[in-house]
């Protein structure tokens, strides 16, 4: 137990900070994923075949390639790509992006592919009559989406989004290969310096279980809230 003490003697405070980092990366990645989904879901549902194709390539490639490979692409290629864009604007210095940004972006793109599929499924399973009714009543496009489609979509999407959240949370463990100090990386460091990998990796597993358990409780509450009236 003294291994988990807070302060200089134990790893308690380090692991606590690492847990907060895991939560921060997961939430950032999830939000980045939502913004990708906001772009690609309309493309998937569009009438134009070429737009469908773009969105399908995105979701198929990301869901068919290992997460680790995507992370390596961003880890090794991220700063190169940014420097290339910067050089177009005449900036030629070396740019290093930090591990948090690379990591949440890589996981965000993966999470976005899953979210896109969830939102597409949710919108498609809304009764067609709802769209028609909104049109007949003369709602503007904007109002139709925010007042009629979105609330119904959220109710249908939340159970599946909770799966996406779980996947995203577990995927953040892979960012440890880039050196970002989250739960996995911190356990690796602690295991290395105390020569007690069994204890620290088991403790990491418990931390992840705790995070998934608590987030499921929270999401269940949201589910109840959004299915009021049904």
């Amino acid at each position: 137990m003294e291994l988990l003490a807070f302060g200089d003697t134990g790893w308690g405070d380090e692991l606590f900070r690492a847990t907060l980092m895991t939560i921060a990366v997961s939430i950032t990645a999830m939000l980045i994923g939502f913004s990708f989904a906001a772009i690609f879901t309309p493309l998937k549902l569009s009438k134009f075949k070429s737009l469908n194709l773009i969105a399908n390539i995105y979701t198929t490639v990301i869901r068919g390639v290992p997460e680790l490979l995507v992370i390596y692409l961003f880890f090794f290629g991220g700063s190169g790509a940014i420097m290339f864009v910067a050089s177009i604007f005449g900036y030629n210095e070396y740019i290093e992006i930090n591990a948090f940004v690379t990591g949440s972006f890589a996981i965000g793109i993966i999470s976005g592919a899953y979210s896109t599929e969830v939102f597409r499924g949710a919108i498609q399973s809304i009764d067609k009559g709802q769209f028609e009714a909104a049109e007949v009543l003369g709602f503007s496009k904007f109002k139709k989406f925010y007042k009629i489609i979105l609330p119904q979509m959220l109710r249908l999407a939340i159970p599946n989004l909770s799966n996406v959240w779980q996947i995203t949370l577990k995927d953040t463990s892979l960012i440890s290969v880039t050196g970002l100090v989250e739960i996995m990386r911190q356990s690796y460091i602690a295991a290395g310096s105390t020569r007690d990998p069994l204890f620290f990796y088991s403790f990491a597993a418990i931390l992840y279980l705790l995070l998934t358990f608590l987030s499921m409780k929270l999401i269940n509450r949201l589910e109840v809230k959004y299915s009021r009236g049904y």
Binding site: L68, P197, T212
Partner: protein, 223 residues
């Protein structure tokens, strides 16, 4: 775009794909047995037994695969007693450690898939078997299992694809699978995009094959 690198790295990556496929197939076969065993335990009426089976699948589905591999590869080696047993022959090899982790992980997901498949079998079918005087054992093997397999094919197909992506984690315990070799080439040439296209293409091709095989099986076993 460095096409020469892409062409040169292709044979190396294909060679590594063999390891990926070995890891995948062995862990899927072992995982299927584990999954079937735990699915049956989950349906047991004894509270302790089905709680135990539920706990197993909850823990393995609630923690990242990376943690599971690290516990087995780095963690178990720490137990002095294990080092003196015959198990150590297996546990000192990263290859077998990875397979144990993958099999236990996919076993947990498979048990959930099979359990829900068993539970959706209509009771009428089992009753029909009983009224025809067929023994419970034969009902289970000849009626319940074939129906459950058909029911769980789409979900199991997804699980195979997820597991194929999961085998990439073997590269974190020094194995040179497809991702491991891809990472090695990237870190020596600093050409991430080219290598990603080739390695990603191979993964996508495998996904495509698995997807279509499952689709074909679904059609064949549909009723």
């Amino acid at each position: 775009m460095d096409f020469e690198l892409m062409i040169n790295s292709f044979p190396k990556l294909i060679g590594a794909t063999v390891i990926t496929l070995k890891l995948l197939s062995v862990s899927l076969i072992v995982g299927l047995f584990i999954g079937l065993l735990f699915a049956i335990l989950r349906l047991n009426k004894n509270v302790f037994i089905n709680r135990f089976a539920y706990g197993y699948s909850y823990v393995f589905r609630g923690t990242p695969l990376l943690v599971q591999i690290f516990i087995i590869y780095f963690g178990l080696g720490q137990i002095e007693y294990l080092r003196s047993t015959i198990l150590w022959v297996i546990l000192k090899e990263p290859y077998w450690c990875a397979i144990i982790a993958f099999a236990l992980n996919t076993g947990a997901y498979t048990s959930e898939i099979l359990r829900s498949a068993f539970q959706t079998i209509k009771p009428g079918i089992i009753e029909a078997g009983k009224s025809l005087g067929i023994s419970n054992k034969i009902i289970f093997y000849k009626i319940q299992i074939p129906i459950a397999i058909r029911q769980s094919l789409p979900a199991y197909g997804n699980e195979i694809i997820l597991m194929m992506k999961g085998t990439s984690l073997a590269s974190t315990v020094t194995l040179m699978d497809l991702t491991g070799v891809a990472k090695y080439i990237i870190s020596t040439t600093f050409k991430p995009i080219e290598v990603f296209i080739v390695a990603g293409g191979i993964y996508l091709f495998m996904t495509f094959i698995i997807h279509n095989v499952i689709k074909f099986l679904e059609k064949r076993y549909s009723y």
